[in-house]
Amino acid sequence: MATTPLTAPPVEKPPAPAAGPPAANPKKGVLSYWRLYAAISPFYLLFLAFGLIPVGFSLYLSFHRWDGLGSMEYAGLSQYRYLLSDTDFWSSIGNTLIIWALATFPMIFLAMITAVMLNSAVRFKNVYRFAYFLPNVTSVVAVAIIFGSVFSTNFGLVNALLQAVGLDQIAWLNTPWGIKVAIATLMTWQWTGYNAIIFLAGLQTIPGELYEAARMDGAGPVQTFFRITLPLMRPVLLFVLVISTVTGLQSFSEPQVLLQSTANESTFSGGPDHAGRTMVLYFFQQTFDNNDFGYGAAVAWGIFLVVVIFSIVNWRLVQRRGED
């Protein structure tokens, strides 16, 4: 549900202490600032109505049984207890993590290489950047439809290639691993260019003198990359990893569109054997197919917890490596 565009990390410097001239005058009452409060109020009102109250309500809901129509029934911790023993939920976590890993590591690797190449290319830089960024702005629905045909068993491009080199065809969208590879390939295709642009911006802040000095000391390109480029790129790498984690762990549209025509029971079921049923797909299935709003809310909080834990682990890993 990528409704917020993803760009800058919310890294915030503390606001400059009373630097702006129209500084707060302690003698004036709060009411005298009403124009300013009115100007920022639309966001906070919307947030209250469609953010804070819903999030609070969903916490309340997760302790109740509710089908969205009848009356709510207090259920205590039972839905969370069920969640912990729900093998479908655990397998959806597994699916999500596998797809995330299959997509993220090749993506970051390819994006880094692309960025380093773009950084040393002198000509056509803008043309390259335009072309590499294009996959990212196209809609997931269109892209998933296109990739569905690339991985189609009967006429897909991948199978045609396999046939051409004399290998057996694979029923990509009908086998557990095939499904995951197809989704991960789609994500890699869509996000490599975006991350390459981010990496490129990071590379451009590294002073050229550093490379000059390394060259004078006789360092080769590979050594330079691992000794200079990579350490200095750690903050940008961290940003990319966090964004990929948060978006990757909440993937929904890719598997939903890609697998909806092979799904037999529901469009949220994630294909044969539920091999492509991610956490968020499972949430949608429980909530909007089974009309189990109470359990759906518990699943949503479960997902939130997984994302938070995983982000912290990621963050720690990258930080730790920096201390060595």
């Binding site: 100007a39 890699t188 590979v222 469009t267 949503a300």
Partner: protein, 299 residues
């Protein structure tokens, strides 16, 4: 893992393309060529799915199902087009998408820049707390709020209409944060002081002093918002309960769900047509979007 390499024929070699100035001219030149060849392979990989979609939109399903796969345009684009228009209300859903994307873009530009102006240039009680609160909202995943949102909108009678898409998206934390960063440096305090001495009200300052200097920032936010709204899928899929009155992405998905295994030519035609407005908007703003994205990440 071994399988992915077949679709992504490892486009590149290790980064040995660091230009070594002066020394071996030959080697440098050869490296330059290798560099552009690798980069070009990457461009092909980026562009190929688009090309293939266009090719498939010009073939019948029988042609698509045959081996070897068609790599050159066929002659059935017109047929696919008329089948597409028979299957879904293409222009109706395109109108809905435009309505949502354009309305949200203008609302976001207005509300976000107004709030950003306040946060960037004024001091008032509670400013820090309100700003920190806004940044925390970034972190809340959408599905946490999804169920109650749906319930609230059902109560308001918005479910099924475009209102359920437009209103909650009318202002967002990302845009306010981003515009604030932009305004902090772009709007000079002296200008604001001068306008205040001239007796300009807060709204006049916003409209006549702030907005004119932050036009490039507004352009970025506007294009970004438009593209995000045009492509949005998960929430519209849930909120637009009337299958005859949906946005383009939802209509496309319905088309794929019903005909996705039988009539690929027609489904592809829909996918290709849906991409066109987006590509136009992206082509207009690409340079700035790419530059600003980079700046955002290393700020």
């Amino acid at each position: 893992m071994a399988v992915t390499t077949q679709t992504e024929p490892a486009p590149t070699e290790p980064p040995r393309a660091e230009p070594t100035k002066g020394t071996r001219i030959r080697g440098t030149q050869r490296r330059g060529i290798a560099l552009h060849v690798s980069l070009f392979v990457g461009v092909l990989l980026s562009a190929f799915p688009f090309y293939w979609a266009v090719i498939m939109s010009t073939h019948t399903s029988t042609e698509i199902f045959s081996y070897p796969p068609k790599l050159l345009p066929g002659s059935h684009f017109g047929d696919n087009l008329s089948k597409l228009f028979d299957s879904i209300d293409f222009f109706g859903s395109m109108f809905n998408s435009l309505l949502v994307a354009v309305s949200v873009t203008f609302l976001v530009l207005f509300f976000d820049s107004l709030a950003a102006f306040v946060f960037a240039k004024f001091h008032f009680p509670g400013r820090r707390v309100l700003f920190a609160m806004m940044m925390a909202i970034f972190m809340v995943p959408a599905q946490l709020a999804a169920i109650p949102q749906f319930v609230i909108m059902a109560k308001l009678g918005w479910i099924g209409s475009m209102t359920s898409l437009i209103v909650p998206a009318a202002a967002n934390a990302f845009g306010i944060f981003w515009m604030r960063q932009y305004m902090k440096s772009a709007i000079h305090d002296e200008l604001l002081d001068a306008s205040k001495i001239d007796g300009a009200s807060f709204l006049r300052q916003y409209w006549h002093v702030a907005l004119p200097v932050v036009r490039p920032g507004l352009a970025f936010l506007g294009i970004f918002t438009f593209m995000g709204q045009w492509n949005d899928y998960a929430w519209p899929l849930i909120a637009l309960t009337n299958p005859d009155n949906v946005t383009l992405q939802v209509a496309l998905s319905q088309l794929n769900g019903v005909h996705g295994t039988t009539d690929y030519g027609m489904v592809m035609t829909g996918a290709v047509l849906a991409l066109i407005p987006l590509l136009i908007v992206f082509a207009i703003g690409a340079k700035q979007i790419i530059a600003d994205l980079g700046k955002g990440a290393i700020r």
